[in-house]
Amino acid sequence: MASTINPPAGAGTLMSGSHILLECLVREGVDLIFGYPGGVTLPFYDAMYDHQIQHVLVRHEQNAAFAAQGYSRATGKVGVCCATSGPGAMNLVTGLVDAMMDSIPVVAITGQVTSKLIGTDAFQEADTFGITRPATKHNFMVKHVSELPRIIHEAFYIATTGRPGPVLVDIPKDIFQGSTQYQPVDSIHLPGYKLYTEGHTGQIRRAAQMIWEAERPMVYAGGGIIHSHAHNELRELVELADLPCVNTLMGLGALPGNHRNFISMPGMHGSYAANMGMYNTDLIIALGVRFDDRVTGRLNAFAPHAKVIHVDIDPSEISKIRNAELPIVGDAKKVLTKLNKVMRELEPEMRAQKSSARAEWWNTIRGWMEQHPLKPEFSVDEIKPQHLMAEIDSISGGEAIVTTDVGQHQMWAAQLIRYNHPRLWINSGGLGTMGFGLPSAIGAQFACPDKLVFSICGDGGFQMSIPEFATIANHKLPVKIIVMNNGYLGMVRQWQELFYNNRLSEVTLDSFPEAHLLAGAYGFKGKTISKPEKLRPALLEAVNEPGPYFLNVRVTPFENVYPMVPAGGAINEMVLGQPQPVAVAS
């Protein structure tokens, strides 16, 4: 099905660099660019003026990168962003590093000063190529207009294949302006770009054997499942051998949140059952994960009894942190398809072997789940943050897109809202970038105009992206902006409270803008609530509003996120709740 690839314009037509660029973007199936113009991109913006590709003017380049990510995370397609040279390109950098950390396919187009001026400290010159080298999977600088088609298609190819990631193309002004006879590219040749997708058949067979033989297996599935569209294969595996499965912060939705084998999220703010499961398992089946320190806690106390099967498309992830007894380099979907087949072949002979140990393992896990469930807290006087998430969960029913910012609200949204499909949960996992929540929701809503999109932000991070209210208003995007307003940089406050003697240094957020005035200033509705009985009606009002809605929810200020594995702690030694005062015996 080559339907995404439009037939190229006739070979040999004399075209400007700008038009060639647009033509290549069309061939790549791009219909939307998030960007911000400037001096050196003027020729490109002039060509876009009457072109079919839609350009969305964000209000800060960082948000162009985040919106492109939101678009990509919601669909799996490449997100495209564009910025001018110097300051514009520099503003993209955070968004690119963020995409790099979470393996999101983004292509960034940046303008550069005219070739002749490069290296002269020209006006708005920055070494974008040098500065973004470690911020991207790969980057390019176009030296001649005739290279443009090859470079653009290579950029898309690199961004989407293997382990996805951001790719930047830096284009000097004279390249946009120059013209040449357009020669459409018909193949990509990158001799050094090696892809390992199939997975070793022998290793896959051994993996199936190990899975059937394990007494306390645990599937540890992450973002790789989502990137690879392998959620159905994951589900098949889990159901086939009745395996318990945790999803990482990046992998939420890989197995439906309402699936009976889903044991929620492991890690620093993971559930008791997930962490105890990871601690006590004898076989970790790691699928598209990278043993992040926020998951493992102290390494020598992480899954000390377990063997590890590690499936990843990036060979450098395997045995980077934790040695894998059985490495499989390959694409999760391809490997799981083969694995499931072998699992079935072995089933008749193997299923019964460990059935009683497996049953006992499930009992233990269910026991942990009942002992310390992830359950919301309620109060009659105040809106508890967990209450807010529970209501959003109930309205979403596991079907809405939820983007978050970074902090306490992010963790509660991960713990308490179900995601019954991949690509519903959109957050900045690896870099943890505040300011991500609002612009990523813009991208997601553009990508999925008919879907309900919640953008849940902290009162801190929300203010980092406030200018995007204009973009939302401009396009009447029906994003439901929910600020979980605790009056603090909550996550930092939590650490100061727990680990710095409650010396709350620079974490108070006074002077939050009046919600209805702020939203009103942009021409849409806004409201502040603080009473629990107002919560559900207010959320329903927001959801029923055809356009954007800004709901500022004042919640209990001093609530902390639990369970918590303190940094560098062992995952089985979670702090389960606020330390209680201890009665002193008289």
Partner: protein, 183 residues
């Protein structure tokens, strides 16, 4: 421990920067790095010596292989290979010890490349330990100035160069489409 790597790299803009950047970002200590064109002038050969813990050796190779412009990164540390370095040094020599210096140079199969009233400029190649000894020895004759090339190495084991083959335009998108449709 010291790890010797041999890289075949495309001469594309920024290729050297990418290699050095990865080594720095991953906290691998670079002992030496040499780079020059190969017979095919679109490619360069780099020999890199890093000082890393034994258990990260495989990581170093994987990280370098991940770079789009790196055609091959190989670990020569335990392979059959030949490694050489060159030193150019200037030694101040009094009339009284000039003959002795020349004798020593001969023992190390070093060559005098310049001679003046102040002293000699000498070129010596060998493995790094041999050069260390030679430098120590020369120092005992007086003030010296030293430039070392860094290691160059060649493997003695025939290696297949596995390269990615051209992919038709649109192949990746087609595969992506199939994935999405096969839900």
């Amino acid at each position: 421990m010291l790890q010797t790597l041999s890289l075949l790299v495309e001469n594309k803009p920024g290729a050297l920067m990418r290699v050095v950047g990865v080594l720095a970002a991953r906290n691998y200590n670079v002992e030496s790095l040499t780079v020059a064109r190969t017979l095919d002038d679109t490619l360069s050969r780099m020999t890199i010596v890093v000082d890393v813990e034994h258990k990260v050796r495989a990581q170093v190779v994987k990280q370098l292989n991940k770079l789009v412009n790196v055609l091959q990164a190989a670990d020569l540390t335990e392979e059959r290979s030949v490694a050489r370095e060159m030193v150019l040094l200037r030694v101040r020599a009094e009339m009284s010890n000039r003959t002795a210096i020349l004798k020593e140079a001969e023992i190390f199969q070093a060559r005098v490349v310049d001679s003046s009233v102040e002293g000699f400029a000498i070129e010596c190649t060998g493995d790094p330990e041999k050069l260390d000894e030679f430098i120590d020895l020369m120092r005992s004759y007086g003030e010296i100035e030293v430039t070392r090339s860094g290691l160059v190495a060649v493997t003695l084991e025939p290696k297949k160069l596995r390269l990615a083959t051209p992919v038709p335009m649109g192949a990746a998108e087609e595969e992506e489409q199939e994935r999405v449709l096969s839900k």
